[in-house]
């Protein structure tokens, strides 16, 4: 049920997450939210822009019209003014002429003017009157005086039609005339309707008077006649009309040839071509009379300007009307400006629209991607969870299957049946391994794999891994060895479980793919290798060229087993540098160590070398990809899924290192990786209850040994293990040399090394001249001396009974040190041989079954807290089996009571689900108690407590459903880990190994 609940929670959380992510989708931008309006916006924009450009056009057009009008007005006014001024000047001149006539013709007696004088004078002053075609003087003649007048002048008065004038009251015959108009002499001006009226008006007003326009005599141009009265006597200051008429002597007239004159005038002015000028007499406003210009209405009628003209005759009104010759031209500037504006706006609008559409599209895509991403992530999480759950669920029935198979194998089976069952069992085990790996991978992918940081002993981890594979390697006849450089610190802080997993994976692979030769695990500080790798020219990497020379070439190479290895760095030529360097450094190492304390990090370089089948060149670049094996035939031949290396890579990278490999097909592979650990400060691990060093028996300290081995790398490995036990080691290449060495020592005073042990490699002993007998001889030599005989011990990877017998006969001790060597195992063997140390072996069968767990739990006092009697009993039984002293508590409260400080429990296994006070709560209270006690302790300076360290009893949860969430909660409330219930050995070991220091079985 717990499981189901968890699942539903997970699903729920995934769903929530998805929803949340979807929620962010609502954060649309403005553009996105108005996407449907975009085309409408565009349309609106276009319409608005069209309006604006139309408006611009109109405005510009209007402006140009106004300008045109202004120009017209200016031109028109200018013309009117000029005309008017000219006219005035002429009028004034005529006036002056009138006064001249009155002065010289009437006041002077006799008259100073005759026709000749007048004609000449007027001709010479004609430039003063440019507007006048000519002037003439007509005398007033009343009818009574007509005869006298006619006689006097010698001609009769004629009408305009050049006929003798009929009788009238009054006549106005022209007596003087300018030459240009000489044809009017003797014509009666009163006979013309226009002139008569003019004359009458002028003499009444005494001012210049104009006729309305008419066709002039002679030129037939339109013109007006100007008439000035001439008075014979001086007028009173304010003369009446009668007085004026009475005083009138004659009339001076001039004809304005308006048409030609205006033409002339306008010709002088600029812009003559552009405009059309008409001059009208508008005295009678209903019927304007044209004075100049064409009557027909051509030109631009839309735009007309009228200017008033004042010619000095108040009774007559004139005006000038101007208009353009041509209609206003289309304003191309305005049109193009507006059009360009429209086009630009259109383009801008389109660009904006395009951009908006693009944004919309991109955002759509983005949201889609986001959604897909969320889904993919959710799917990924779900997948991981599913994997984790399913893997967990599969494990249970798989265990059942395996158990059944184990039972089945115990029964009487035919050989075929047994074979089937065995195969099934192997497959099942492989499946379990795979499931565990998948679970790991899922955890890593889900990011739920967190590394621990606990102090641990690197060397013992290597030993543990080796012991795991010792059986297999021995069966295959492989040399399996580990060498840890001396400068690698004993204790580092990191995740021992994961580190072990990495090495296990690599070594497991190597064991799987190697049929002969060796597997060599080497660890040293990364800094040490640098000079060597640099010095070494790497001329053949991974090349398959050398394949030919190794076929049967065992023993030629200076590697661990004599087989060639892919990476030569482990062969003796390079290896000895490391060893020698270490020896040189040995004295300085203490100083070094102190110096190294400063730097916290330790970069460890581990390489696992094998002489297996290697990795095909084509497959080398996908070795670290999950589920990729070199090729499909590999999995057929060797099994496995290929997930291991990908997990290993993940783990290495999690630990801050990197992994690489060098592999040559048919030669072997060398995987190297680095990991970064924290240096474990001595002070910090002295305080804790954690083991300071490996719990290796110290009883061998100071013993001396000679290792007889032809292969220097192997000898170095042997020495490494012996050194850990404190044994001084010398090398010898053959038994003979060793024997002679021994003999020499024997004969001398003994201050030099007298070996206590001689370790002989089996290969060396069996091969060549160092036959069994030479040992006897060696033995015999010793007999004569007081010295204790050195013990002869055989080192072997595998040994047959015959060989063993032979060895016994040859004088070797009963115990053969079976490789792979481990410090503890070597210690045990030596103990057996030398009889050093106690033989405290509680139950032989336990030793066989799970010595590590045994070592961890033996003698430990453990509290089991469970409300369930049966569970309690079973858990206690299991722990007791491993040698622990178990006490039980049936509730959290009882546990609290038992764990009142000070207590002497080494660990506590706590059920989680208990009535009243559950495991979490109980743990919390225990931790509280401890922290109080710790505070008090730190306050007081107490020798005892200082040595004891802080109170922290490891509490491990016992739970039936092992889930991450549960685990997290366990950690949260202060627990140190969990074990599944009922106990599984491996699980129990993993949990316990972190907290309990191993009790050496054969400890001193």
């Amino acid at each position: 049920m717990g499981l189901k609940l968890q699942q539903s929670q997970h699903h729920h959380s995934v769903a929530v997450k998805v929803n949340e992510q979807m929620g962010t989708k609502r954060g649309y931008t403005f553009i996105q939210s108005n996407r449907a309006w975009l085309p409408k916006f565009l349309l609106l924009w276009v319409v608005v822009m069209a309006f604006i450009s139309a408006w611009i056009y109109k405005k510009m057009d209007a402006d140009s019209k106004v300008r045109r009008e202004e120009v017209l007005i200016t031109m028109c006014d200018q013309r009117a003014r000029v005309l008017q001024d000219q006219f005035r000047v002429s009028v004034n001149h005529v006036h002056a002429l009138a006064i001249l006539v009155s002065t010289f013709h009437y006041y002077k007696n006799p008259s100073a003017i005759d026709q000749e004088t007048f004609a000449e004078y007027t001709a010479r002053t004609a430039f003063e009157r440019p507007l006048l075609s000519g002037v003439a003087y007509a005398e007033r003649v009343v009818h009574s005086e007509r005869e006298k007048f006619e006689r006097q002048h010698g001609w009769t008065i004629k009408t305009m039609e050049r006929e003798a004038s009929p009788i009238r009251d009054e006549y106005a015959p022209v007596i003087f005339s300018q030459e240009t108009v000489s044809y009017i002499e003797s014509l009666d001006m009163m006979s013309g309707e226009e002139d008569r009226e003019n004359i009458l008006r002028s003499r009444a007003t005494g001012k210049a008077v104009l006729t309305s326009p008419f066709r002039l005599l002679g030129s037939h141009h339109l013109g007006v006649v100007l008439t000035f009265p001439v008075y014979k006597s001086k007028l009173p200051t304010r003369p009446t009309v009668e007085e004026r008429i009475e005083a009138t002597a004659g009339y001076l007239g001039g004809a304005f040839d308006v048409e030609s004159l205006v033409e002339n005038l306008l010709g002088q002015l600029a812009g003559n071509q552009a405009i059309l000028v008409n001059v009208y007499d508008v005295t009678n406003s209903s019927d304007p009379m044209i004075m100049y210009g064409h009557q027909n209405q051509d030109g631009d009628l839309a735009l007309v300007h009228e200017s008033k003209l004042d010619f000095g005759d108040p009774s007559r009104k004139h005006q000038m009307i101007c208009r353009y010759h041509q209609k206003a031209p289309t304003s191309w500037t305005a049109l193009t400006t507006a059009f360009l504006f429209f086009v630009i706006c259109l383009l801008v609008g389109y660009i904006l629209y395009g951009a908006a559409m693009h944004i919309v599209k991109v955002e759509d895509d983005f949201h889609e991607m986001q959604e897909l991403k969320v889904r993919a992530e959710a799917a990924d999480v779900a997948k991981s969870q599913f994997l984790a759950t399913v893997s967990h669920e599969i494990r249970t029935p798989m265990n059942g299957i395996l158990g059944m198979l184990a039972l089945l194998l115990d029964t009487d089976l035919s050989s075929t049946q047994r074979d089937y069952a065995l195969t099934a069992q192997v497959c099942g085990k492989a499946l379990i391994t795979l499931i565990n790996e998948v679970l790991d991978r899922a955890k890593i992918e889900a990011g739920k794999l967190e590394l621990e940081t606990v102090p641990f002993n690197i060397r013992s981890i290597f030993d543990d891994v080796l012991s795991l594979f010792s059986e297999k390697s021995r069966n295959k006849g492989l040399e399996l060895a580990v060498f840890v450089s001396d400068n690698v610190p004993e204790m580092v802080i990191g995740d021992p479980g994961r580190f072990r997993q990495i090495i296990t994976n690599l070594v497991g692979n190597s064991v799987k793919f190697t049929e002969r030769g060796h597997i060599f695990v080497k660890a040293h500080l990364a800094e040490n290798t640098k000079p060597m790798t640099e010095a070494k020219p790497e001329n053949h990497f991974n090349g398959g060229l050398d394949e030919g020379m190794l076929i049967s070439g065992a023993g030629h190479f200076k590697t661990l087993s004599g087989y060639e290895a892919a990476d030569e760095r482990n062969s003796w030529d390079y290896f000895k540098h490391l060893v020698l360097e270490e020896e040189l450094r040995y004295d300085a190492s203490i100083n070094m160590a102190i110096a190294d304390e400063a730097s916290r990090g330790v970069t460890l370089m581990v390489s696992v070398e094998d002489t297996g089948i290697g990795i095909p060149l084509i497959a080398q670049d996908r070795v670290f990809m999950p589920f990729m094996q070199a090729d499909s035939s590999t999995s057929r031949n060797y099994g496995g899924t290929g997930i291991g290396l990908s997990i290993t890579k993940c783990l290495v990278e999690l630990m801050g290192g990197h992994i690489s490999f060098i592999s040559r097909p048919q030669v072997g592979s060398t995987f190297s990786f680095t990991t970064v650990f924290e240096r474990c400060k001595k002070a910090s691990y002295n305080d804790t209850k954690k083991p300071v060093a490996e719990d290796l028996p110290s009883g061998f300290r100071g013993l001396k040994a000679i290792v007889v081995d032809g292969k220097p790398v192997r000898a170095a490995v042997t020495r490494y293990h012996l050194k850990r036990l404190g044994i001084l080691v010398e090398f010898a290449n053959s038994v003979k040399i060793a024997a002679s060495e021994c003999g020499k020592n024997g004969s001398s005073c003994g201050s030099k090394i007298q070996p206590d042990i001689i370790l002989v490699e089996k290969d060396l002993w069996l091969s060549g001249e160092d036959g069994g007998l030479s040992l006897r001889m060696f033995d015999g030599k010793q007999n004569g001396h007081v010295f204790k005989l050195p013990k002869l011990i055989l080192l072997a990877t595998n040994i047959t009974n015959v060989e063993l017998e032979k060895a016994k006969v040859a004088g070797f001790a009963d115990t053969v040190i079976m490789k792979p060597m481990r410090a503890t195992m070597v210690a045990a063997c030596l103990q057996q041989v030398l009889g050093i140390g106690k033989k405290r072996q509680p139950g032989k069968h336990m030793l066989n079954r799970s010595p590590i767990l045994q070592g961890l739990l033996c003698g430990k006092k453990i509290l089991v807290v469970d409300d369930n009697l049966v569970n309690r009993r079973v858990a206690a039984g299991a722990l007791k089996k491993f040698g622990a002293a178990v006490e039980c508590a049936e509730s959290g409260k009882a546990a609290l009571k038992l764990l009142q400080l000070p207590h002497c429990f080494d660990a506590c296994f706590m059920d989680i689900q208990m009535p009243e006070m559950d495991g979490f709560e109980a743990t919390r209270r225990i931790r509280m108690m401890e922290s109080q006690a710790n505070e008090q302790m730190n306050g007081s300076i107490d020798e005892d407590s200082a040595s004891k360290g802080e109170w922290h009893v490891p509490i491990l949860a016992m739970t039936a459903d092992v889930f991450l969430a549960t685990y997290d909660e366990c950690l949260k409330c202060g627990m140190d880990g969990y074990v599944s219930k009922p106990f599984e050995e491996e699980n129990l070991y993993q949990a316990v190994a972190k907290f309990l220091k191993s009790n050496p079985i054969l400890g001193s």
């Binding site: 049920m1 184990a406 009697l869 049966v870 569970n871 009993r873 039984g877 089996k881 039936a960």
Partner: protein, 150 residues
């Protein structure tokens, strides 16, 4: 003579255990339980089985009582079933454990009828496993007796 009898009894024991495994009455945990029994703790399995039976009977009685109530107290029910589940998984009574899981599920769903059904199967499975274990214990005692006589 004794040899033969012991061998026969052992075969019988093995067959019995095997049949229980085959039927799913027991699982691997029972093997581990048997492993825990050694010379320092010769009656371990029997002892645990006795404890288990007492515990299980007590819980079954309690469960029966709770299920017969008008208003079933599901949380109480659940805690009892949890205990029984723990005990049965400790001795490896696999089918009983499954029945417990069923009951927990039913009680989770507050489904009284299913609870009753699951409870019946618990009772049934319990009687099956108890009877078989009793037989097994008798065989065990026989073997021990015979071996002691030797």
């Amino acid at each position: 003579m004794n040899h033969m009898a012991i061998a026969a009894l052992k075969t019988q024991r093995r067959n019995l255990v095997q049949s229980m495994f085959d039927e799913g009455v027991l699982d691997n945990q029972f093997n581990q339980l048997q492993d825990l029994q050694d010379s320092s703790n010769p009656n371990f399995v029997e002892e645990v089985i006795a404890l288990f039976c007492n515990d299980a009977e007590r819980i079954i009685t309690e469960l029966n009582r709770y299920l017969n109530d008008q208003n079933v107290d599901f949380s109480k029910l659940d805690s009892y079933v949890h205990q029984l589940k723990g005990s049965s998984s400790s001795i490896g009574a696999y089918r009983l454990k499954l029945a417990c899981v069923n009951l927990r599920q039913a009680s989770e769903e507050r489904n009284k009828e299913e609870c009753a059904g699951a409870f019946n199967s618990i009772r049934r499975e319990y009687y099956v496993v108890r009877s078989k274990l009793q037989v097994l214990m008798q065989l065990e005692r026989h073997i021990v007796n015979l071996e002691n006589q030797q």
